[in-house]
């Protein structure tokens, strides 16, 4: 039964994705054309994957957070900070691996900080993560001293723009992270515990789950994912732009998770579905661009999408559907 339910979910999100892609194809007949050049794949489809990678990575971290009935508003700012740290370190002459480790360590620290505020101080997640959302961008600018720090370190640039087995590196990293985190939560008991805490924290604690530690771990994963996305974006533009890196992406990540079937009230989650959600968002983005609308039109579409999903998820819709269901059963 669960497998069937899972298959249903797969259908909803993937059908939506295929639908959006087909729409793009109608608007732009060359959409599905993929070419092989200089040892890598090119084409609009690859472009969707590549550009969707940062949000997909954020969504991988955001999804477990949302499943615990939380939210992490700081991921965009953490991206900016991580990019700034990585860029500054390579510019200062450190090797790339130190720059990357430094950026990841910063992301981990931010995640632990958020986790402590939420789990130990019992501050509402929105409020707790708001602190870093506000301060983080300032800290990023502090690191970059207000300018866009450009670099040409081959490793960092490769992370942002290189390719592996023909696929762009961001896609490879996003895919690897998706597999890694999915296995990490599903092959251990962590996924079950996350859902248990999200559904009923009191009952989960009484059943012996260390919910505070779990929350800190979950926010840490989100911080790490945000830092990874930050490194990718910095590598892509060969520089750290503290003002614009990751701006509003926290919202895209939340949206991706919600499209992927996670409820803001906590509970069930699927990381691959959230990644599909991120791809749907990016495919729409691309579609709007190729059809000649201004890119900001995207925001309007996203607003419509959020509203639609919220309506479907809302208790009121449940009541109305329940009414219909009851009516049918009564008639039968």
């Amino acid at each position: 039964m669960n497998r069937m339910a899972l298959r249903n979910v797969v259908n909803t999100q993937t059908v939506a994705l295929v639908g959006v892609l087909l729409l793009n194809w109608v608007l732009f007949p060359g959409f599905f054309r993929i070419e092989w050049q200089d040892g890598r794949l090119f084409g609009s489809l690859i472009d969707v994957l590549n550009r969707g990678a940062p949000v997909a990575i954020l969504a991988i971290g955001m999804t477990p957070v949302i499943a615990t009935k939380g939210v992490d508003l700081s991921v965009g700012a953490v991206m900016a900070m991580a990019g700034a740290v990585a860029a500054s370190l390579v510019v200062a002459g450190y090797p790339a691996w130190i720059a990357v480790s430094g950026a990841l360590a910063l992301g981990l620290a931010c995640g632990i900080w958020n986790g402590i505020l939420v789990a130990l101080l019992d501050i509402q997640p929105i409020i707790a993560t708001l602190v870093l959302m506000v301060a983080g961008r300032g800290i990023a600018q502090l690191v970059t001293e207000g300018s866009i720090v450009t670099f040409s370190d081959p490793t960092l640039v490769f992370i942002g723009t290189g390719s592996f087995l023909g696929f762009p590196m961001p896609v490879v990293i996003a895919f690897a992270l998706m597999v890694l985190v999915t296995l990490a939560v599903r092959k251990t008991a962590i996924g079950l515990f996350i859902e248990a805490v999200g559904v009923n924290r009191s009952a989960a604690t009484l059943a012996g789950i260390r919910s505070r530690l779990l929350l800190i771990v979950v926010y840490s994963i989100s911080g790490l994912c945000a830092a990874t996305a930050g490194i990718i974006v910095a590598g892509d533009i060969r520089g750290a732009d503290a003002n614009n890196a990751g701006l509003w992406l926290e919202l895209d990540a939340i949206l991706a998770a919600v499209i992927g079937g996670a409820s803001l009230l906590g509970g069930r989650f699927s990381i691959p579905m959230s990644v599909v959600g991120a791809l749907i968002i990016q495919a729409m983005n691309t579609g709007i661009l190729v059809s000649g609308f201004p890119p900001e039109f995207n925001l309007v579409v996203k607003a419509g999408m959020i509203t639609l999903i919220l309506m479907i998820q809302s208790p009121l819709a449940g009541h109305i559907l329940g009414w219909f269901g009851r009516g049918k059963r009564g008639a039968a």
Binding site: M1, N2, K187, T188, A189, I190, L192, F193, E195, A196, V199, N200, S202, A203, A204, T205, L206, A207, G208, I209, R210, G267, R268
Partner: protein
Amino acid sequence: MRASGAAMSIGKLGRSAVGESAFRMEARGVSKVFGAHRALDHVDFGLLPGEVHALLGENGAGKSTLIKILTGAYQPDGGEILVDGAPVVLNSPLHAQTFGIGTVYQEVNLLPNRSVAENLFLGHQPTRFGLVDRRRMERESRGLLARYGLDIDPGSELGLHSVAVQQIVAIARAVQLSGKVLILDEPTASLDRDEVRRLFEVIANLKREGLAIVFITHFLDQVFALADRVTILRNGKLVDTCRLDALTRTELVRKMLGKDISFSGSTSLKTERPTTEVLLNFENFGRRRSVRPFNLTVHKGEVIGVAGLLGSGRTEMARIMFGIDPADEGRATMKGAPVGLRSATEAIALGFGFCPEDRKADGILGELSVRENIVIALQGKLGWFRALNRDEQLDLAGQFGEAMDIRAASLDMPVKLLSGGNQQKVILARWLATDPAFLILDEPTRGIDVGAHAEIVRTINRLRDDGMALLVISSEIDEVVAYSSRVVVMRDREMVAELRGEDINPGVIVQAIATHGETAHHEAAT
């Protein structure tokens, strides 16, 4: 019937009291059904002006359902509500207010973040030129509070006052806005003795002014101290409505617990097992403001029954043992070695298990599957990284689900879709899967159907015979008698008796629960 007889016996109402119209408010044959559960079954309830009418019953007896119908929060599925003899439909508590019916809840439903005056007047504040006239509001508040013997600054924040003062403010608001009927839903649950006395003075005054007052409490002392009449509910049915001066405490407890049988002969049927191997020892174990220190030795292969009314400290005792609210006094040893019991995780690691009283809030993980609900505690014990795979989970869930005879269409269906009895079995199965040495069950048979009930009692007996130690909290005295080798009795947050052998019979237990002992004090804080 009963009610009109009682009406006549209220002397000061005189001749006019005879007949239905004497009731300020009346419920006639009201029923309420939730799904398959009949929460109220043709209950009659009549409330006279100038009386304090206690409403008694254990959890699940239908008290709160009746109250919600009287205040308009629920609509009855059958029967009718009359105010001053005229049938009414109460759509909401707010609507009920317009009929003169005001309610004060245990958890004061006021705004702790606002001033006392604003809490008294919210929605009806006096205004001048469209602006709230704060000076007048506070002046009127002062007058109003004085009538209740409160000399507090009306401009002060309500949340900074004691619960007792908040209760009185809530009463003042309710009386001021409604004025005919006052429903007090466990107003004394978190008050100390002096505060209770103060509240009682207020209630007595209101009674003299002719208000009809419904009073719900778990403290029998308070019922006898305050109420004129009492209505007792049990399992959604009316047991009796009668005057209190015609009733002894023991009779009252007997009615509440449904023990109309003769008290002499029915001793425990089973012989006490020779259990000598000590599993746990709690020495002077207690927690401030929760349960007074108690001593208890638990042997392998025995069931210790815990009897006591709601609010007697029985659940608190379980929570301390399980480490949810860690003890701050005394020590516990397991097989002679001291143990900490600082958290549930710690207790579970030692082989404890705990089925909480409130299944929905603390027990089930509603959205998750039956399978996941069964394996969760074992998985918690195994830790994060030794995950049970799906097949192992299905095996376990199947095995323990079958042992508990859980009726679910599939082990993968959400547990919230199961009936209450099956949910309870799921939680039992969850703990059995951890192979516990000591299992605490808080009201395991409450609110579930007869079949599941029998199944759970059978399981308790089987587990005891297999050598497990169990502590079972229950208000079903017959049950406690049937499976316990010892019974501890809780009263006023204190262990007041430990009964064994011949003493384990309903008569002695009811007596111990009801006895107005000299040792009973309310100052659990000191």
